[in-house]
């Protein structure tokens, strides 16, 4: 069985390193992008099974990238989990309006991250 592919998008090297360190323990192929625009390009080329994307990023924010991914025929079915700094109503609402499937808040909790990734990969 081929490994599931997860695209991790974050401009912060520490956050990226943290997420990949957590996900490396799982049987996933990890691909990376460092901003929203690159995320769209990598998603179209790699067709990952899941996208885990930070919100605050240069070039395109996570919300903008998510909205675009969900409008494109070739990427709209890929589940997107947004990583938000603020878990308050407005931010979460904006996330779901952009079409994201789920969100997690910072600071990153490894167990929550793994649970959500497993859930969306399986579902």
């Amino acid at each position: 069985m081929s490994k599931k592919k997860v695209l991790v998008v974050d401009d912060s090297p520490t956050a990226m390193f943290m997420v990949t360190t957590i996900l490396k323990r799982e049987p996933y192929d990890l691909v990376k992008a460092h901003d929203g625009q690159q995320a769209i390009e990598v998603a179209a080329a790699e067709r990952p099974d899941l996208i885990l994307m930070d919100v605050v990023m240069p070039r395109k924010t996570g919300f903008e990238a998510c909205r675009e991914l969900k409008q494109r025929e070739d990427t709209k079915s890929i589940p997107v989990i947004l990583v938000t700094t603020r878990g308050e109503g407005e931010n979460v609402e904006a996330g779901f309006e952009s079409g994201c499937n789920d969100y997690i808040t910072k600071p990153i909790n490894a167990q929550e991250l793994l649970a959500k990734v497993r859930d969306h990969i399986a579902g």
């Binding site: 390193f17 943290m18 490894a110």
Partner: protein, 286 residues
């Protein structure tokens, strides 16, 4: 004998004969009646005998049936004993399997609890590993500062922090980088003054009591933690972490471990970048 006597005698004989004949006829009639009665009785007895024969045959059949039923009953009884024995054996087996299942269940619970514990430890270690790896992954001072900011935002959960370095001549902590706060509010903190100054003086990590009133005034009223940076047993600076992100309930055990790590590793990383910059400068001068 006279003729009259002879006639009387004949008459007498005739009468006797008639009487005898009468008696005989009566007897014959009685016997006929008796024969008829006996015949009827015989017929009745024959009927009864036939009936008795049939009853006997039925009785025989019933006896055979009873014997067969008794045999069947015995067989069923034996079968019931065997079934009961089998049932008892199954019950014992079931009890044994249930006990085994309970054991397996308890073992599974213990394993999953252990697994969760290990996963939590792994996560905690991942945080510490990431922080340590990132801090020591560069010799660029700005990158170390950016990394500290990212660690505080992504691993601790705060967007308000300040990084201070000790100015030995001035005996104060000087703000060298900050985010989310106004730098003017704490650009220089004398050692021993306020919470940050005291942490710089004592070298002890300060963590605010979330249930208690604010320990400091002004910007320090928002202070969540202050981590003195220690190198070779001496304080070289401090990291002040102010408000946590709204979704972060408070400082946890893992944060305290991370603070311990930052206290030494951030100090070392900053010191190394300073040394590196100095060597680079000296190298450029030569």
């Amino acid at each position: 004998m006279k003729q009259s006597d002879h006639g009387a005698y004949v008459r007498k004989v005739q009468e006797g004969a008639q009487s005898f004949a009468q008696d005989l006829l009566g007897e014959i009639e009685r016997l006929r009646m008796l024969v008829a009665t006996l015949e009827a009785e015989r017929e009745s007895l024959a009927g009864k005998a036939q009936e008795a024969h049939q009853v006997f045959k039925v009785n025989e059949a019933l006896r055979a049936l009873a014997a067969s039923l008794e045999a069947e009953m015995n067989r069923l009884h034996e079968q019931a004993i065997a079934v009961r024995a089998e049932n008892e054996r199954h019950q014992k087996e079931q009890a044994r399997l249930l006990a085994q299942l309970d054991g397996v269940r308890a073992e599974t619970t213990a394993y999953s609890s252990r697994y969760a514990e290990i996963e939590l430890q792994n996560s905690n270690l991942a945080n510490l590993y990431v922080a340590s790896y990132r801090l020591h992954g560069t010799l660029e001072r700005q990158e170390v500062i950016d990394t500290l900011k990212e660690i505080i935002a992504n691993l601790v959960g705060s967007e308000e922090a300040g990084l201070f370095e000790l100015d030995e001549a001035k005996q104060s902590l000087e703000l060298v980088a900050s985010f989310g706060i106004s730098p003017e509010a704490c650009s220089s903190v004398p050692l021993g003054s306020g919470i940050i100054g005291r942490a710089g003086q004592t070298g002890e990590i300060y963590v605010a009591d979330p249930a208690g009133p604010p320990s400091g005034s002004g910007l320090e009223g928002r202070l969540t933690a202050c981590i003195p940076l220690i190198l070779g047993g001496r304080v070289t600076g401090a990291i002040a972490i102010f408000r946590l992100l709204p979704q972060k309930a408070g400082i946890e055990d893992l944060d305290r471990e991370l603070f311990d790590l930052l206290a030494t590793h951030a100090a070392t990383a900053l010191y190394c970048t300073t040394l590196h910059e100095r060597f680079a400068l000296e190298g450029a001068r030569r």
